[in-house]
Amino acid sequence: MIDLLSAILPRAFKTKRFIFSILIMISIPSLIMYVAASMDDDKLHMDSFPFFMNTSLPMIIAITGGLFISKDYTDNTIRNKIIVGHSRTSIYMANWITSVIMTLALFAVYQLFIFAVGGSIFGFSDVYELDYFFKELLLTLCPLITFTSITVFICMTVKGTSGTVLSFMFYYVLMMFDAFSVFITNEDLLHFIYNCLLTSQLEELQSSVYEGMAMDYTNFTLYPISSLIVILISTIGGIAIFRKTDIK
């Protein structure tokens, strides 16, 4: 698998899609901060920005990670790995690791940009705690890595560009959970399901900063546990399906 990673990783970071995604991760916050700066609001500080793109991130993950995997199928280059004797598990895991690293890299670029530019323009509020930021950061990584796992699962099992489209669709279907919640009468269950959904988690983490809400520390266990379960199920299931899949 190390051979695979040493081949895949550098290529992943050189693709036009990844560079395009980096540009998006810089240009959208630039635009938002430009608009915010022009509002001349003294109460606006850099603390408002680190997580405000949370709900848009999965879309960018699907573009970068999803298309990177899908292209391997559309070019039939995935054959090159199987024919020379790499196990299907190694191929799947190499793609998973590459996608997660791409997600982390994109998120890191975004955060560094926000801190460097946002920090210098807006400064930090007096009440802002770095400890709070890191906790929120760790919690945000849970749904992001979960969505990356789901994207890898979909792309590796659907075997084509449609995998990326399905990842998109999957995210938006999850976002429509509220519409389905009318069928769940038990409020505790509803609340539990809501907290376990990665879309809700990203929304919560995004709005908690916007609205200056105190962080719900029970999330420190629920978010990672729910993420871990989904990551394990999607990865183990994905490998099992991929091992039995016929490749064109």
Binding site: D3, A7, D75, R79, I83, V84, G85
Partner: protein, 303 residues
Amino acid sequence: MEYILQTNKLCKNYGKHHILKELTMNIPKGSIYGFVGRNGAGKTTLIRIVCGLHNPSSGSYSLYGVNNKDSAILAERRKTGAVVETPSIYPDLDARENLRLQYKILGLAQDNMEDILKLVELIDTGKKKAKDFSLGMRQRLGIAFSLIGNPDFLVLDEPINGLDPQGIVEIRELLLKLNHERGITILISSHILDELSKLATHYGFIDNGTLIKEMSAEELHDSCRQSMKITVNDTKILQEVLTEKQLEFKILSETEAVIFSEIEITPLVLALHDKDCYVVTMSESNESLENYFMKLVGGVHHD
């Protein structure tokens, strides 16, 4: 005889469709094995199974003597190179970058990359992206991919499909060179039989998912060469007469024989008559590989 690949009652089903039906084949080491069959006969499916791209529905195969269910087969695959249908190349990379990536995938040093590029005549392609290559160049790049890691076994699925005459000659010469100079065993599937006959040392004929005949090139040559099939009442007498006349022949049964040499019919019939042997039938045969194949699969099918 040592075999590189052996399949044992290999089956592949897609739903209710049986693509391979208990297919058993043997590819001798050092051979160029021509895998002959019409479109949809199951050639590519078998190749995909052998390359690990498809899983067999039942049956098994062994590569270098290792069964496909054994995890050690992964190590054996490193000694195999393949081009399945279209070459699997990275279109946005040039020839060197393509090969470099494959070397990395294999975890090998790029020490013989230039030799491979020279061998497939892509050494002068410079920065030209693979997506801008001609079909022949792509095929050769695909073959270059398969040669990384010095494989002992090459699997090529329709490598001359869509190539111009010059491209076909180039690929043929390359394959012969690989077989003769490096001793690489080659499994090559095609339905262009005349071209295959210029390469193959062994043949496997597949029809409708079943291997209907497996033979060496010599055996095929004997079957296809110009000959006279003769039916007599006693081939022992026929054998005496033909030996006296120093003719090349093969006795098929007590009443049938095939004569390969050019013969004068009247003296032969008279000589046989003198020894109380009479001729029942005589028929000339001059089959092409194509005719032989058509005869094997029972004429033209319309699927």
